[in-house]
């Protein structure tokens, strides 16, 4: 059995309270870095651990931190991405609801490392319970001297504020999040400049996901080689997998990076519902290209999934069984991206609108011979030509569905109906 690290407090009845967190050794990592390490040493430690961002892109966290200029006229900021809008993903919510101090400690250690005195946690507005728990935890941490002026008697001044989102998936894109924090409509910014140099209020800014930050105190406490020893060396660590859809035991699982998707779905999550078979799995939220049942041996880490044309993304694992129409699933996903397109660039805004129309027509049994070619052409027109990765994600996902489930698309067009209805 893999000993849970990130989820070790999750089943405690009062896991969200400071007393529970401290009883399990909480805030000792913060005390340790303030006592024993310079900020540069913490950055180096995180680099050595090979921690990669859990928000979707898998960017090396230590490297991201090292891009922040050491000398800066302007204050530096740390932003925590807790927008968690990727369909199929619920890990950050569970951390914030049941173990918010783990995130706060991660923020404090990370803030110390990059030289930020202020952190904003951008939480999606729907997460009312998470927001309340986090507010309560921040207040407790301030009272106990883990946040505020002269943290634990050191020279560190560091405070955390919550910023509530208001329902827009695009706010999860880091530069759109910065726009939103500055009080503007959430539309992505042109890069460069990168946020590490000119981010929030044009100041050096690091943006990290909740789970990424939650890993940091454990790396401090147990060492970089402990972290690297879990899973593949280039993509290591304990990992949260969100399993949902048509599966016996949906839920949040903490297992090593790189675990086979088949083992995750069939053993840990109990496999398909009685009498059904797995048809396909989306491994990393709906932005991640779908994997047919025959591909389930793949390892759940950034590099292995990229090698088979998919991605780990947010590790939102959605299981689709053989009673479900894949055209319908693909349509629903493209509808989602179309709905959430911020409208800034034409290939995404118009291309997805067009793709939704064609897909709905096919699903309704009114598709025509050239429709699949048209969808392929649309994917080509969108991919690589959009301002942010939302458009790319939509195109990649649709292309994978067309490739792996072409027979189902063709059957809809030839039979002039959905074979599943």
């Amino acid at each position: 059995m893999f000993e849970p690290v990130l989820l070790r407090n999750i089943d405690l009845p009062d896991g969200h309270l400071l007393s529970s967190y401290e009883a399990g050794g909480g805030y000792e990592a913060l005390a340790k870095v303030l006592r024993e390490h310079t900020p540069d040493e913490v950055v180096e430690l995180v680099k050595q651990s090979n921690l990669r961002g859990r928000g979707g892109a898998g960017f090396p966290t230590g490297m991201k931190w090292s891009f922040v200029p050491k000398q800066s006229e302007k204050p530096k900021y740390l932003c925590c991405n807790a927008d968690e809008g990727e369909p199929g993903t619920f890990k950050d919510r569970i951390i914030m609801e049941r173990d918010p101090h783990q995130l706060i400690e991660g923020l404090a250690v990370s803030g110390y490392a990059i030289g930020a005195e202020t952190a904003y946690v951008y939480v999606r507005g729907e997460y009312v319970t998470a927001i309340r728990r986090l507010e309560q935890a921040i207040a407790e941490a301030r009272d106990a001297g883990y946040l505020g002026r002269r943290v634990l008697g050191s020279d560190l001044n560091f405070d955390v504020h919550i910023h509530c989102g208001a329902g827009a998936y695009i706010c999860g894109e880091e530069t759109a999040m910065l726009e939103s924090l500055e009080g503007r409509r959430a539309q992505p910014r042109l890069k460069p400049p990168f946020p590490a140099v000119a981010g929030l209020y044009a100041s050096p800014t690091v943006i990290n996901n909740v789970e990424t930050l939650a890993c940091v105190p454990h790396i401090v406490a147990r060492g970089a080689s402990w972290f690297r020893g879990i899973g593949p060396d280039k993509s290591p660590g304990p990992k949260l997998y969100c399993v949902s859809g048509q599966v016996r035991r949906p839920g949040l699982y903490e297992l090593p990076m790189g675990i086979a998707l088949r083992e995750l779905v069939e053993e840990h999550a109990g496999g398909p519902l009685p009498g059904r078979k797995v048809q396909a799995v989306i491994p990393g939220g709906v932005s991640a290209p779908v994997i047919p049942e025959t591909g389930l041996e793949v390892g759940m880490d950034f590099d292995s999934l990229a090698a088979v044309g998919s991605m780990l993304g947010s590790a939102g694992v959605i299981v689709v069984d053989d009673t479900t129409c894949m055209v319908k699933v693909a349509t629903r996903i493209v509808e989602f991206f179309h709905h959430e397109s911020c409208g800034k660039c034409t290939p995404c805004r118009e291309g997805l609108n067009w793709a939704v129309k064609v897909l709905r027509r096919i699903e309704a049994g009114q598709g025509t011979a050239g429709d699949l070619e048209q969808l392929e052409m649309l994917c080509k027109g969108i991919f690589g030509n959009t301002f942010c990765a939302l458009g790319d994600g939509a195109a990649m996902g649709l292309r994978a569905a067309l490739e792996h489930f072409r027979d189902e698309f063709v059957a809809h067009i030839e039979e002039r109906r959905c074979p599943f209805h």
Partner: protein, 170 residues
């Protein structure tokens, strides 16, 4: 705290007043139920920011309502995981028992029915958010019970109005 004080407390968290527009709109919406033009103007005045900045955000983000919503806002998730677990049947059921289509409010003003994108609780799909609360692992029977308890809550709220007290002279 008054609305103005709450907004000022939120604004103190940012180096720029403009950043406080979103939190201010959330505070104002809690106070007023929705965000008509007059409230948007009040928010702009309290923060001392351009009105257009406030309008812009109130119309961009889906959690802000510039039109009134029902007493209970039923927000049914119909994204992939919930769809795979039967959200479509739940939507049909809700539309039938409420006699409204999605996006509409019942004539008594009690329920507004919406479908929403993933609520981030797919482990208990299908999920519906009502006000601040999530309701997961829904099926028709649970939905029936939920609607009943919401109706009872609304009824109670009405009867909780101070009952006429017998006057001393009687």
């Amino acid at each position: 705290m008054t609305m103005r004080e709450e907004i000022e407390a939120a604004a103190a968290r940012y180096p720029s007043r403009r950043s406080a527009i979103m939190p201010a709109l959330l505070i104002a919406q809690k106070e007023h139920g929705h965000l008509p033009g007059a409230v948007l103007e009040e928010v702009a005045d309290i923060l001392g920011v351009e009105r257009i900045w406030v309008y812009e955000l109130a119309t961009f983000y889906t959690l802000f309502h510039t039109e009134p919503v029902g007493r209970f806002h039923l927000q049914l998730c119909d994204n992939v995981s919930c769809m795979l677990c039967g959200a479509e049947d739940l939507l049909r059921y809700l539309e039938a028992v409420l006699g409204t289509e999605k996006g509409e409010t019942t004539p008594d003003g009690l329920f507004t029915l919406s479908t929403v994108e993933c609520l981030g609780a797919c482990e208990v799909a299908p999920v519906m958010q009502v006000g601040d609360d999530y309701h997961g692992n829904l099926d028709i029977a649970r939905l029936e019970a939920l609607l009943e308890s919401l109706r009872a809550m609304a009824g109670q709220a009405v009867s909780a109005e101070p009952a006429p007290q017998p006057s001393a002279g009687e």
